[in-house]
């Protein structure tokens, strides 16, 4: 694995899961996972926000970091999972808290948490986040390509990261990237034969980001594929780390 490739996994889950026992239930465990795969760093959503109540009212989340912790131990970038809603119904109370904390990317799960991407509170939040240069990541399998496209086109200044498009959806992913220049696509699940190379040729490597959805989804296979893509090195580097670094405002 000593190929010198810097890799940032933009889509990881940190913390215990409902339906599996994983070593990534702590920051140390997650870093251990990254080390095993030769991955430099990752962006991770906290499992309690993802599986449970994102507002954290249960407050039983130690020793995991706060959703607004930012970078932890230099390797794990915590992604706050937001729930735009009327006061008292979501988290955080308002998007200005995210801006004040310097958040560069949030995750949203409208399907899982039962709210609408185009609700009045959400529409206000997207505008605030776009103005602040904060991106939002959404799971395609939850929101649908149409949902992501509508959001991206409503807010051209908002960067939207389409997670988990799935190996069966190369065409729709390409359509989405063409329709909305402010969308980036995660490639970890685009693992049909030659899929990533095809999408890089069609949409441009600058539109693709590496992410796996580990530990729920396959991280090792996706990482191996990334290292063995039949693409010029500079394109692989862009997908592996460069595009994420630009998104997160860190050194490429």
């Amino acid at each position: 694995m000593d190929d010198g490739l810097v890799i940032h996994d933009l889509h990881r889950i940190l913390g215990p899961l409902m339906d599996d026992q994983v070593p990534t239930d702590t920051v140390g465990g997650l870093i251990g996972d990254l080390d095993e795969l030769g991955v430099t760093s990752c962006s991770a959503v906290l499992s309690w926000q993802w599986c449970g109540d994102p507002s954290g009212r249960d407050a039983t989340h130690a020793p995991l970091p706060s959703p607004l912790a930012g970078w932890v131990e230099g390797r794990v970038h915590v992604v706050p999972l937001i729930l735009p809603a009327a006061p008292g119904g979501g988290w955080p109370a308002d998007p200005d808290q995210l801006v004040a904390a310097g958040v560069r990317m949030v995750r949203a799960c409208p399907g899982r948490h039962r709210w609408s991407l185009d609700s009045p509170p959400a529409m206000a939040w997207w505008g605030t986040l776009a103005d602040a240069g904060c991106a939002v990541s959404l799971d395609v399998s939850e929101v649908g390509f149409g949902g992501i496209r509508a959001l991206a086109r409503s807010f051209p200044e908002l960067t939207v990261v389409a997670l988990n498009p799935g190996y069966r959806e190369l065409r729709r992913t390409a359509e989405l990237l063409e329709a909305a220049p402010n969308v980036l696509a995660e490639v970890g699940t685009l693992n049909t034969s030659g899929g990533v190379e095809w999408l890089a040729a069609v949409a441009g490597a600058e539109r693709l980001v590496f992410g796996t959805g580990g530990p729920v989804n396959d991280d090792a296979g996706a990482t191996w594929l990334l290292r063995h893509l039949d693409l010029p090195r500079d394109q692989v580097e862009r997908i592996a780390h460069g595009n994420a670094a630009r998104l997160l405002g860190v050194g490429a």
Partner: protein
């Protein structure tokens, strides 16, 4: 370490785009990955036309001797093709028979498959069957029932696929002598692979990629990264399939 891919395909599929469905690409990638050989079935055969699919698969194997071998697809909707299959099973480079109960919409334990299983048992021909947990047609328990009833080696393709059913499928492979768990799957992770091996026993698990549906590079990465002992990894990677195939695994340069 010898790596044999127990479960691969060539050909495109209508449900979604596979940018590289061709045998040439597969053969090159396998070579690059250090995978000695793969058993392929053609997607046309998995779908609507087994005769054409099998012909195309055999042609591809002839074009890549020692790298591509053939699982001949049998559909219970075309029983008349069983006679042709009977002859084709003797062709060098043929590993056995591929069944897809879900695309063909016939349960693996349906009497329609009985003539095929009788033939396979009579000749000791391995059968690779798609399995999918909770499928009426191909749940691993159905595969286990079939394996108990017949004597041919039965490879449970994908090990049932869904994560919540993997350990049950692994236990069945451990319990039933002539049933194996094959790993080609979009849902498998390196962690789950190690668990399956621990549950089934390394000698009952077979490496497969489900190429070209899936990119074979991901499956190799998962195999190499899984927390397995060297001997277990070697068994899964190719040792077990070597034993199952016996004389059906030609040395490099063999011709179908």
């Amino acid at each position: 370490m010898r790596i044999l891919d127990a479960h691969a395909h060539i050909g495109s599929w209508g449900d979604f785009l596979i940018p590289r469905p061709d045998a040439d690409w597969l053969a090159r990638i396998l070579s690059d990955l250090g995978v000695e050989a793969a058993g392929i079935s053609h997607m046309v055969g998995v779908g609507h036309d087994t005769d054409t699919g099998n012909r195309l698969a055999l042609e591809a194997a002839r074009a890549h001797p020692g790298r591509l071998y053939v699982w001949l697809v049998h559909s219970p909707h075309h029983p008349q093709s069983l006679a042709q299959l009977r002859d084709q099973l003797d062709l060098p480079g043929v590993w056995g028979v591929k069944l897809h109960p879900d695309t063909h919409q016939v349960g693996l334990d349906d009497p329609a498959y009985a003539p095929l299983f009788a033939l396979a048992s009579e000749r000791g021909v391995p059968v690779l069957a798609h399995t999918q947990t909770d499928s009426l047609f191909s749940d691993p328990t159905v595969a286990a029932t079939v394996a108990r009833r017949w004597s041919m080696p039965l490879l449970a393709g994908h090990g049932g696929l869904w994560q919540y059913g993997l350990l049950r499928a692994a236990r069945l492979a451990a319990e039933v002598d002539n049933l194996w768990f094959e790993t080609g799957s979009s849902r498998l992770t390196r962690r789950w692979l190690a668990r399956v091996v621990a549950e089934a026993g390394a000698e009952k698990v077979l490496y497969g990629s489900d190429a070209l549906f899936l990119d074979p590079r991901t499956a190799v990465g998962r195999l190499l990264a899984a927390d397995l002992s060297p001997s277990d990894r070697a068994a899964v990677a190719g040792g077990n399939l070597t034993r199952i195939l016996g004389h059906r695994l030609l040395p490099p340069g063999g011709q179908p």
